[in-house]
């Protein structure tokens, strides 16, 4: 079974928005998006449980986005595909899902895995868009995953408790951070990562042109950055009437 895990490189250290481009400053060091580590781990477990298969790690980003891949390979992924093209910068959900879907279509995996969200844009939207483009069923927020022959079953957490949803393979699954505890790469894993196959693709290799990615391929834009509005007046109370005042406050806010 071929398992494709989509991973993202996110900036290390304190994240900054570049006021000029209004985009995340990705110029510094990067690391594997922590939530994607869960997805890589789950992919490895599915492969280990089924006894055979291949875990391919896929990422798109500037050429320097290699650290995320390296960590995934060190954990045990078999190979990596890196869509590296300068025109990718500034891609929104539409453009990103378009590029990823093209790369995934090229691989034709049975199972596509995503992590819960990306720590840099807090988005939980990518997989549903990719599933749509691939025309595959999608199950998100999966806290427990079982793959059984040609079916996949996900136990997912919603506002109301846990659903159990089943879908036939090929399918797209987004795992939540509750699904597993990612393994630490072993030293042998770290040392062996360099030798594993890493493919670098351009947009052209995917049959896409520059206008379909980056800002040109996006339909949303960041207009301005500003300070968040202050929380508003903080009300301070003390003394005997405090409890009644608290409840009055909560009632006023319709929280009780």
């Amino acid at each position: 079974m071929k398992i494709a895990v989509c991973v993202k490189q996110v900036p290390e250290g304190t994240k900054r928005l570049d006021p000029a481009t209004k985009r995340l400053d990705r110029s510094g060091e990067g690391a594997l998006n922590p939530f994607d580590a869960n997805a890589v781990e789950e992919g490895l477990r599915v492969k280990e449980r089924s006894g055979d298969g291949e875990v391919v790690v896929l990422t798109m980003g500037p050429p320097a986005a290699a650290d995320a891949i390296r960590k995934a390979l060190a954990m045990g992924a078999d190979r990596a595909v890196h869509v590296a093209d300068d025109n990718i910068a500034g891609s929104d959900l539409l453009a990103t899902s378009r590029v990823l879907a093209a790369a995934l279509a090229r691989e034709e995996p049975e199972l596509v895995l995503f992590g819960q969200q990306s720590s840099d844009s807090d988005g939980a939207v990518l997989w549903a868009a990719v599933a749509e483009r691939l025309e595959r069923p999608v199950i998100s927020q999966v806290a427990e995953l079982t793959v059984d022959g040609r079916k996949v079953r996900g136990k997912r957490q919603t506002e109301y408790g846990y659903d159990v949803i089943e879908a036939p393979l090929p399918a797209v699954i987004a795992v939540s951070d509750a699904v597993n505890e990612p393994r630490y790469p072993s030293l042998k894993g770290i040392m062996g990562a360099k030798k594993k196959p890493q493919e670098h693709l351009s947009l052209g290799d995917l049959g896409l042109d520059a206008a379909q990615a980056g800002e040109g391929g996006s339909a949303t834009t960041v207009l301005a950055l500003s300070e968040p509005p202050p929380r508003g007046e903080s009300r301070r109370i003390e003394g005997d009437g405090a409890v009644a005042e608290i409840v009055a406050f909560l009632e006023e806010k319709r929280l009780v």
């Binding site: 290390e12 250290g13 304190t14 510094g28 060091e29 690391a31 650290d67 505890e181 990612p182 393994r183 630490y184 072993s186 030293l187 042998k188 770290i190 040392m191 360099k194």
Partner: protein
Amino acid sequence: MARRGLVRPPTPAPERPRARGPVRPSDWPPPFSPDEVIAPPTDPPEERIDVGVAIVGAGPAGLACAIRLGQLLEEHPAVAERLGEVPVAVLEKGKQPGSHLLSGAVVNPRAFQRLFRGRKRTDELPFSRRVDHESVYFLTRSRALRIPTPPTMKNHGNYVASLSELGRWLAEEAEAAGTTILPETAAHRLLVDGARVVGVRTGDRGRGRDGSPLANFEPGSDILARATVLAEGTLGHLSGAALHRFGLGGENPQVWALGVKEVWRVAKPLDRVIHTMGWPLRSSAQLREFGGSFVYPLGDDLVSLGLVVGLDYRDSALSVHDLLQELKTHHLIRGILRGGERLEWGAKTIPEGGFLSLPRRLHAPGLLITGDAAGLVNVPALKGIHYAMESGRLAAEAVFEALRPGRTTWTPGALAGYDRALQDSFVWSDLQRVRNMRQAFGRGFWMGGALAGMMTASRGMLPPGNARTEPDAEQRLIRTDRARRYPRPDGKLTFDKLSSVFSSGNKTRDDQPSHIRVRRRVPIRLAEMWVRMCPAQVYELGEGHGDGTVDVQVTPSNCVQCGAITAKGGRLTMPEGGSGPEYTRT
């Protein structure tokens, strides 16, 4: 023949040290023995990992060593063949190279030029900008008196740089030269086979607070190497144990200073390198407050500033972090930071003993010690980076020679070429020239200043002889009300310790065993000293016992691994790899 330079035995701690009365941190030693850290390999042979040369620490010393080895191995494939699939491995305990690197820094490019042998132009080196102007000030609370720059501190021809960025750049060069870098990998134990050093054991990952393995427990591994180069930096974990085990200690014990620094984005570019002395440190000899501050332009809109204070200070109320906050309220500094915002914070110790505290030997069979771990820092010139790199480069050459066909790294003198080369180098002559500078300042700023002037003028000939130093942990503690003057953090110019720890990028996993070894019940004055000393608020006062002692509460996940506790009565050991700060511009 009496051996000069025998390891000075520590002053024996009294049987039951008094909880009241004069308190010395050394009377309350931590539950730690260097022997814990040195042992034979334990993994079965088929699980051991073999590398050619293991370098511990991806700092300037370790990476210069790796780069030089890469150059030599490329020119001599016969030697490379002997080293197997992974000829050079660098172990780094931080998240990645640079995560644990911190300095001012003003760098002498000399070592870079020697390392890259003219193959890189200066503008290709990862420096921020050249030092064109510099000023030294003596501060009082309200004034800044310009004083002539001491000759030892002149920085013409040097460059301002972020050591963390330098580390990342050097790491890329090392990888390009064939090095395997192992990030998030702590070297936990030095592996020996009799008297030979045969490698290092890495630390376990995935243990819970009580030590039991968690679901993703990954045990450490024995890494076997023909040569192990320790480049751990200040207060190196394995280096300290090795110096002890192999009897390598120098004439004077090593002493340290603690530096706390911040990186700011500023509204008005700073046009020069600034050093200050005096306020907020006090000049009385009794207090032993030796140090000063630096303010460096790190690019057009960035400034790096910090305060460095010797850890032989006596006042338990002294907090270098809070003194740095106080320093920022001085009109000279406030003006530089006006309209700016703090981007990063960090802390690290610096070895200050200089030439006379250098170990008498820096090699043993299969082992070399380089950089700050060896104490190669020129305190009056505030320089250590180029010495670290040069020592790493020379270590590489010595290792390479011992790896030639027909030779070995294991015999007692096999790596002695390193010490000889170091002694013939500018590292040695520079350090020797300023050997008594720091010790002079142990007698207070004014007396020290006069002695320093005498030393400089005579190029190290006067005063004759060698001054002694005492270990930092043997200083008797006193207590003043200094803490009352620390500014209350306003979150804009001055900051508290916890938000500073946050600003270092520290996201240490909480559920792991504590890596801090201290006595958990000590006299209150000692506990107070630790509470103030630690820039990361690792220690807090716990329950008092009514007999003058108090419990010490420890929050290990705050730790930024500066090392100060090791100098002052405790012991920092290595937490899980990847823990600690994630410096990017320090």
